[in-house]
């Protein structure tokens, strides 16, 4: 019998023992500040450089292109605000989608106050962006395109390669991609991307550490000033233990990625097929979505009610995303043209390669039971 069933891996993942080990060991053994000039500082810096090299290698970018931040939200802010601050005299037009994380949507909305015009690309019914509309929106005035690789609520995967090819024709337009939900789930290719966000706690790493990959030919303005630290684009004493644990988490997460993808896909198929058979359940995810994210709506039941009913059985999933803003409607589902009924009753089930078939079966049993009971009430 399984005690607790955690199916909210897209919100955060439990930290791996090996990753925590690194954090503890580095905290205890490397007491120097990587910026100090003495031996302790040098040792710390060497470890930091090696960790950075490892991360850069895994993503096939340069070491000097990695900027550590405290969270993906910070990385997103740095990417967007850093770009517009650096080039105040370029166009004041930003293109994004309604599928983005709140740390992107809120940041571009904030920029509206400063005269920036924000355009949201139309989204097709399957959740992918309308490429024709995207091409229409781009102009010489566009300073930044920010589009997430994978949407966090529904799991739609965007064709970033195609988007990068289109943006390439606009030499003064930067492309920022939020890869938080993509890294460790699908192979990522950073070619043609100027700025790329990802974080550790979606990779069975620790929260508090994330990165922005900034290609070496791209300039941004720092948001946190204070001199050179790990990178001159983000001041603050480098959190060495978190950085080392981040490198380890990423390495472990990317090991055997294709094998893990297949495992999750199998679970996804089983789960989706079984959910379809439950009366009153509508599946919102489709085959353009990440297999680890399954978004469903149960129109007759309030999502919070459902969440707490499951919680009573020690089963954990999400309504929308853990960090989306106010309001009951799911923005991505609305953007995908779903009815209000569907959009305000969505639930997100998210898997990891560590999820077992037994857990999924157990979850289905409890889920079905909850749907049945709550509908009667």
């Amino acid at each position: 019998m399984i005690r607790m069933i955690y199916l909210d891996y897209s919100a955060t993942t439990p930290v791996r023992d090996e990753v925590l080990d690194t954090f503890v060991k580095v905290t205890k053994q490397y007491i120097g500040n990587p910026n100090s000039l003495h031996k302790l500082g040098m040792d710390a810096r060497m470890l930091m450089n090696e960790a950075t090299r490892q991360i850069a290698q895994l993503l096939q970018v340069r070491e000097d292109e990695i900027i550590y931040t405290s969270s993906s939200s910070e990385s997103n802010n740095l990417a967007i605000l850093g770009t517009v601050l650096k080039y105040p005299n370029r166009g004041k037009h930003i293109v994004t989608t309604r599928l983005e994380h709140s740390s992107i949507l809120e940041t571009v909305r904030f920029l509206e106050k400063y005269g920036y015009v924000i355009d949201y690309v139309n989204v097709l019914e399957d959740g992918r962006i309308d490429i024709d509309d995207f091409c229409r929106l781009l102009s010489k005035e566009t300073i930044l395109v920010t589009i997430g690789s994978v949407n966090s609520e529904v799991g739609v995967i965007q064709d970033i390669k195609r988007i990068a090819e289109i943006v390439k024709d606009y030499p003064t337009t930067f492309l920022h991609v939020d890869g938080t939900q993509a890294v460790g789930k699908i192979p990522v290719n950073l070619d043609g991307i100027d700025l790329f966000t990802f974080g550790a706690h979606k990779l069975h790493g620790l929260p508090g550490i994330a990165a922005l990959v900034k290609k070496h030919n791209v300039e941004i303005e720092p948001l946190i000033h204070g001199g050179k630290s790990q990178s001159r684009y983000r001041s603050g004493t480098p959190t060495l233990a978190l950085i080392a644990s981040f490198a380890k988490a990423l390495r472990l997460e990317l090991a055997d990625l294709s094998k893990k993808q297949i495992e999750v896909l199998k679970l996804n198929r089983f789960l989706t097929q079984s959910l379809q058979q439950i009366d009153g359940v509508v599946i919102n995810s489709n085959n353009h979505c990440l297999p680890s994210i399954i978004n469903v709506s149960v129109p007759s039941i309030k999502p919070e009610t459902m969440l707490h009913a499951l919680e009573a059985h020690d089963v954990y999933i999400s309504t929308k995303t853990a960090c989306s803003g106010e309001g009951d409607l799911s923005d991505p589902l609305v953007a995908m043209g779903k009815s209000q009924e569907i959009a305000n009753s969505s639930l997100r089930i998210s898997l990891s390669s560590e999820t077992t078939l037994e857990e999924v079966k157990q979850f289905l049993k409890i889920f079905e039971q909850c749907v049945r009971e709550l509908k009667i009430k």
Partner: protein, 395 residues
């Protein structure tokens, strides 16, 4: 079937009386580099045998491919000196190969083995022909040559030779002092010097605050990359700021580089003496910059009687770059940090300096005492390439 790596020495075998010394040095070098890896190395006059655990294969190959003194090596299967056993194994081994024609070559250094080489080759050839379909013997141009070495304790069977990096084992020559600036040429010079067996110390002239700590780190990284070819490199960091500033204050600007190089050579000689080194090594390439014309070299070289080895002096820049890429130093070398040779570069450095003029300018300030002071403040660090392993459990 147990696999071992069989190492054939390169030029070492031409060393007659000194052969033992060369082999022993190679043996010690391999042992030092493989410390901590469970493997066993045995040696005799013509071969070295390395037994290892399969899981360590990549690591061991990496070490072998960065060790000078190895001309060729083979993955060899080891077995008892037993005719029936050998017959059985050779079929298994040849089954792993893709070929149409083959030949067998037996070397029998163990004369107690009952069957002479030629006869045994023919016998084994017959066994292979009988057991593998669609193949034939070709003694002139075979697709695969299968070597059978019958030695005192074991018999070894192997096919494909793998190429090592050649050269002499590091340490078969005494120490040399490498001037390591951080550019493209000097790491290549260090690599080539080590290839001829020279034990390497590196010297880095640092002019903080004109050069940054990043520049120092870059040099350390270069040392790490060079240390892959030996086990560790001592890096001497020379605080050059005061002397360099004095040069620019007191000398004619066109002569600054000439005089700076003369100062460096003086310091190098002192360091060489102190560290029992016998040569100064640098990355000068004839004609590349003003200080590397023959006339400049003569004026600069005048301050020392130590041999100055310039391994890349006759290579084109592109040839040097090729080597730098091969030894994986290029990407580090092109990182854009100032080093002490690139700061204060005069607009028109003298191409054909005059020795007397240089000497006269040097008389205008007390460089000797500055050299004495900076010699006292040299920092020496030991750079190994093991850092990856040290961090392995952490990352």
């Amino acid at each position: 079937m147990k696999r071992v790596i069989l190492i054939a020495y390169g030029e070492l075998t031409t060393k007659k009386g000194n052969r033992n010394f060369f082999v022993k040095t190679l043996y010690e070098n391999l042992k030092a580099k493989l410390q901590g890896t469970p493997c066993e190395i045995t040696k005799d006059l013509s071969r070295m045998y390395l037994t290892f655990e399969e899981k360590d294969q990549d690591l061991i190959l990496d070490v072998i491919n960065h060790t000078f003194g190895i001309l060729t090596y083979y993955f060899a299967y080891q077995m008892e000196n037993d005719v029936e056993e050998i017959k059985k194994r050779i079929v298994d081994i040849m089954n792993l190969e893709q070929f149409q024609t083959f030949k067998i070559e037996t070397k029998r250094s163990n004369k107690d083995f009952p069957i002479p080489s030629l006869e045994f080759s023919r016998m084994l050839g017959g066994v292979v022909l009988k057991n593998i379909e669609g193949i034939s013997v070709d003694v002139h141009h075979p697709d695969v040559t299968c070597f059978v070495e019958i030695r005192r304790d074991f018999t070894y069977i192997y096919t494909k030779p793998m190429k090592g990096i050649g050269g002499y084992p590091v340490g078969t020559q005494p120490r040399g002092m490498l001037m390591l600036s951080g550019g493209i040429d000097s790491p290549v010079a260090g690599y080539l010097a080590m290839k001829r067996g020279i034990l390497l110390d590196a010297v880095y002239f640092e002019a903080i605050p004109h050069t940054s700590l990043e520049a120092r780190e870059k040099v350390i990284t270069l040392c790490q990359k060079l240390a892959k070819y030996t086990s560790k490199i001592r890096l001497h960091i020379v605080p050059f700021t005061e002397l360099q500033e004095a040069i620019y204050k007191n000398c004619e600007s066109s002569y600054c580089i000439t005089i700076m190089r003369r100062m460096m050579y003086r310091i190098m000689e002192r360091l060489a003496k102190k560290n029992h080194a016998f040569a100064i090594i640098n990355g000068e390439s004839i004609g590349q910059v003003a200080s590397q014309t023959l006339t400049s070299m003569k004026v600069i070289n005048e301050v020392t009687c130590y041999p100055v080895i310039r391994p890349v002096c006759c290579l084109d820049k592109l040839e040097i770059i090729d080597l730098a890429r091969k030894i994986d130093t290029y990407e580090t070398s092109i990182l854009p940090y100032e080093d002490c040779c690139t700061i204060f570069v005069p607009k028109h450095p003298v191409i054909n300096p005059n020795l007397e003029a240089a000497k006269k300018m040097e008389e205008s300030f007390d460089y000797q005492s500055m050299i004495e002071t900076l010699l006292k403040n040299i920092k020496t660090i030991s750079v190994t390439d093991v850092k990856k392993e040290t961090f392995q459990d952490l990352l």
